[in-house]
Subunit: 599 residues, 2 copies
């Protein structure tokens, strides 16, 4: 078996069978993406992954990026990787044809992203970070800024970054203190420090363009006084590129993603750092947040894709490693069996598969909503908006949290070998963990879900969510192998619904601290149910296909979907029972806790 990091067939099953992405052709912007174009696009992504990304995944870790004498050196494979992704048109994929883009649906682009991230998230992340930064300029900045920056970002010559975090302002963006002062020349003088800036400086590109949050002198305090600036490493002056006084103080020594630099940057140390305002003064955070859904789905993709690569590495090992015998046959004269024969190994692999494919399904679904939000109108657009808002915290946090467990299970399949760097599992284990921290920690998403999204338009999003699941549960009634499991989800959904109503009551009768205290657990509960829904959808489709052609030589693929759905419902969905019990309580144990009790 060749080394594998994704199953392209699964992505195509999602895009064609489960989500019928080609239906987007009804919208003019996406008219060229029929099934064939979709498949070709994905195949091309796989080719880039096979050639420019996957072969260098462990190398980029073992020869990690480093900072020396003011320069950030990255692995030599990075530049060709960024170039290949750029030349494949991926950085500008979603852009219109007239602007040099491909008008690619986000659902397809994100399926491509899944391929790239699974092949080598540490390399691919640079290119897709640039995409996010370029899109931000494209959407909100002046034509002059767009013309000056976007083309070189789209073609991979320049790196883009998101420069948000400061030493005193991580999760709390309202506390940003980086300063901007309007000069007579029309630009802003920038002064401040930024930390954990991914892609913040490196030599595989000619320039680095920071999309930086700062506070204009005299701006209101808090989130309403934050503005967005383009702050390049090198600025153009009279046709020459000169230093823009952005100094790299060092790189952070990360546990994983060692090929993907996180820089500590100092802007304006010599009072010579220029920033160019994007959009209007004091609107920076709202611009940033409009891109945040994208960034969060991208983070979910990174986690799910890393778990995918880990899954296939563990699966390969399980197919090749003989160890032990079945409990009813301990005869040492007989050969050892392959570990994939052991029930517990199958359980660990099913767990991984259920998390990886369930997450991918949710992420494609969210991407499709984003597409509808872009091009549809009326009820479709409104519903897409609501569902995307509601599901984004799940799409970001579920793959991050459960993906981390999945990779740990992958490591466990290998035993001691999994803990050692002769196999890639230990790197996946280190790499995936950061996703629960990127783009808002899990706790932040819990508060977003319960504190904002559930209440959105008086609960309209949540209502839509329940209805959408119920529709798929109804479809499941036609398939004997799905029905009893779908009915279990129906029960749990009822539980989630009841519990949500209770939470809303608590919210109305108390300070927000009370109902938000266990928001992280509510998020977990909601996530488990959401992924169960994905599995019902996938199993329905697999059952439909199997019913048409039960002797297909591809039957194992579809049987695999049904078996994994059954696993998920039998082993994972019951985890909501404990969460339900906990969330029913209003004992305020954590709120009341005297911190000195912890010493």
């Amino acid at each position: 078996m060749a080394e594998k990091y994704i199953n392209l067939k699964h992505l195509k099953f999602l895009l064609h069978d489960v989500y019928s992405i080609a239906n987007l052709q009804q919208y003019d912007y996406y008219k060229d993406y029929d099934q064939e174009a979709i498949d070709m696009t994905l195949d091309m992504a796989k080719q880039i992954g096979d050639t420019y990304l996957f072969p260098f995944y462990t190398e980029m870790d073992k020869n990690k990026a480093y900072f020396k004498e003011g320069k950030v050196t990255v692995h030599e494979s990075l530049k060709p990787a960024i170039q290949a992704i750029a030349e494949g048109g991926w950085i500008s994929a979603h852009e219109s044809y007239e602007n040099g883009g491909q008008q690619m649906p986000l659902a397809l682009m994100n399926a491509g992203l899944f391929v790239f991230y699974a092949a080598n998230a540490n390399a691919a992340a640079y290119a897709f970070l640039t995409q996010g930064a370029a899109n931000l300029i494209k959407t909100f900045a002046s034509k002059a800024l767009i013309d000056a920056y976007v083309p070189k970002m789209y073609n991979g010559q320049w790196q883009g970054t998101m420069a948000l975090t400061e030493p005193q302002a991580g999760s709390s963006l309202s506390d940003i203190t980086s300063a901007a002062e309007l000069t007579e020349e029309g630009h802003y003088a920038i002064k401040g420090q930024k930390i954990y800036i991914s892609g913040g400086d490196h030599e595989a590109v000619d320039n680095v363009v920071h999309l930086m949050l700062a506070r204009i002198k005299g701006a209101p305090v808090g989130t309403k006084g934050i503005s967005l600036f383009v702050v390049p490493k090198y600025r153009e002056e009279n046709g020459e590129f000169v230093s823009n006084d952005v100094t790299t103080a060092g790189l952070f020594g990360k546990m994983g993603q060692k090929g993907y630099v996180a820089a500590h940057l100092i802007m304006g140390e010599s009072d010579n750092c220029r920033g160019y305002l994007v959009g209007k003064e004091h609107h920076g955070l709202s611009y940033m947040f409009q891109m945040m859904n994208e960034a969060r789905i991208s983070t979910g993709m990174m986690a799910a894709a890393t778990a995918s690569a880990a899954y296939y590495a563990a699966l390969q090992y399980a197919h090749e490693r003989p160890q032990g015998r079945h409990p009813s046959n301990k005869d040492p004269q007989q050969a050892q069996v392959l570990i994939i024969e052991h029930a517990d190994v199958k359980r660990m692999l099913l767990f991984q598969k259920s998390i990886v494919e369930g997450s991918a399904s949710l992420l494609i679904q969210c991407s499709l909503y984003a597409d509808q939000l872009n091009v549809a109108s009326g009820e479709t657009k409104e519903q897409a908006y609501l569902m995307l808002e509601l599901l984004t915290p799940i799409a970001k946090s579920f793959p991050s949290e459960f993906g981390t467990h999945a990779v740990s299970m992958g490591m466990q399949c290998l035993g001691g070998a999994g803990y050692c760097d002769d196999f890639p599992l230990e790197q996946y284990y280190r790499d995936i963990r950061v996703n629960s921290i990127y783009e808002g920690t899990t706790a932040i998403h819990g508060m977003d879900l319960l504190g904002r999204k559930i209440m959105l338009q008086k609960g309209a999003a949540f209502k839509l969510f329940v209805q959408a699941i119920q529709a798929d549960l109804k479809t499941a009634q036609a398939y004997d192998e799905v029905k009893p499991y779908a009915d279990q989800l129906g029960q749990r959904l009822k539980g989630l619904h009841e519990l949500t109503m209770i939470q809303v009551q608590v919210a109305m009768n108390n300070k927000p601290e009370v109902f938000l205290a266990d928001a992280s657990l509510y998020l977990e509960y909601f996530g488990i149910v959401t992924i169960a829904w994905q599995w019902v959808k996938m199993a329905n489709k697999a059952a439909e296909i199997l019913a048409k052609d039960p002797t297909s030589k591809e039957a194992a693929f579809y049987q695999g979907k049904i078996a994994t759905m059954q696993y998920y419902m039998a082993y994972e969905l019951p985890k909501t029972l404990g969460l339900h019990e906990r969330l029913l309580s209003d004992d305020k144990l954590t709120l009341k806790l005297d911190p000195t009790y912890l010493d």
Copy 2:
């Protein structure tokens, strides 16, 4: 707040208040260990930890052990650390006075181990591995071997190892192929390869003594043909130490515990490797297994101690880091609050505390059983045997599995900082993960618990376990702050009991594959209940102390026990609900699964 890796007060609370270790004085062997001696011993352990271990924890990781030109170089702090532990009498602690030991109760010794492992498991592990190997020689080998090897192991000059694993025989020890052939000189000629040998070779000691499993030529196949040998790196010949043909092929590149070498060893490459039989031919595995309980408790200790150090690092950060504001007060004009004020951070800290202290309690309890097994007689001894057998798989696997989650929560408390090596969390995260693999993977312990221990003496151990918990639940009726939570445990215990009876039925009516398929989940269920029991015991004792002196300035310490018990019952114990539901099912989903469905 000074940096802290354990709370000595908690260990003393366990040893004195919860387990009354000084009662062991009734046995002659332990007659000198009154409260004062116990406290002094622990304080001395802490001093060694503070001086020789903790300061070098991260250094040993950043300057990891390496193999070059045939030599294994370790951090310079290792030799003094081993020496300090040896000179403190810890390697021979359990040994009799006449043999130069301290006749120290295992419960106390393991409390000391907790201190050392929390301070720096990578360094301390060398010394305690030597202890295990020396004890094996001491217990089963001839006087000549004891005299030749044990003294230099006890004084830290020589390293001991356990050389079990081979490339084709990890979990499946019956498949060991290393060969031993009796020579005319009386020793055995050894030939074979061993992998993952912890402490297998390094220059901080003068010699390395491998306790090695091998098969004597003509031995029966399987476990009944395995013998135990002493195989030193250097052997004595005519008063000189010469090479014994044990070659280090290299070190494994571990994800964590980088200061603690895992070697690949080749014995007898030049047909000049001598082994000295320990005990009788073909009895090697049974000798090894008699030491295994100790090694498993030690692994549990390593996990719990690592989680302890991570907890205190996270707690310190939470006490020092301001970030964000309470949900009902978002005024950016006001200062940010310390993150320990946030309910979700308190939840994450309580989780860690509940796992660390609950695990430590179980491990001390098991150690006390081991002491009773050593020195008691009659019913006490018999009950200690049964309880120790039953609880060992939990004592090994619960701290390993939940400790890994606890460290992850600790990392999450720090956000981005937790993922970077300016803080020790990322190292704890990497280090602790191996404990689910050491000394039998979690799956192995699940099968041990359900397949062997539950059935032991027709369920006598399980019956004792239930009775012991019920006794503590009865005590809890006297304390209002414990009672309702203890009653919840009573309910769950009933559930575990019912489920166990069902499992036994399944076992009688089916091949063992069926009831063992979900043994890992049964282990998890059993573990959650067992730690809940620990918390009832600790809370009972805390409530008793508070009732006597409610205004004590130490009240916060005891209130902390009660609060953590309440947290555990409210947040962790309900996790058994999902496991219960799953384990009731006999759908054989994993057993039946066609492996091709996973591709």
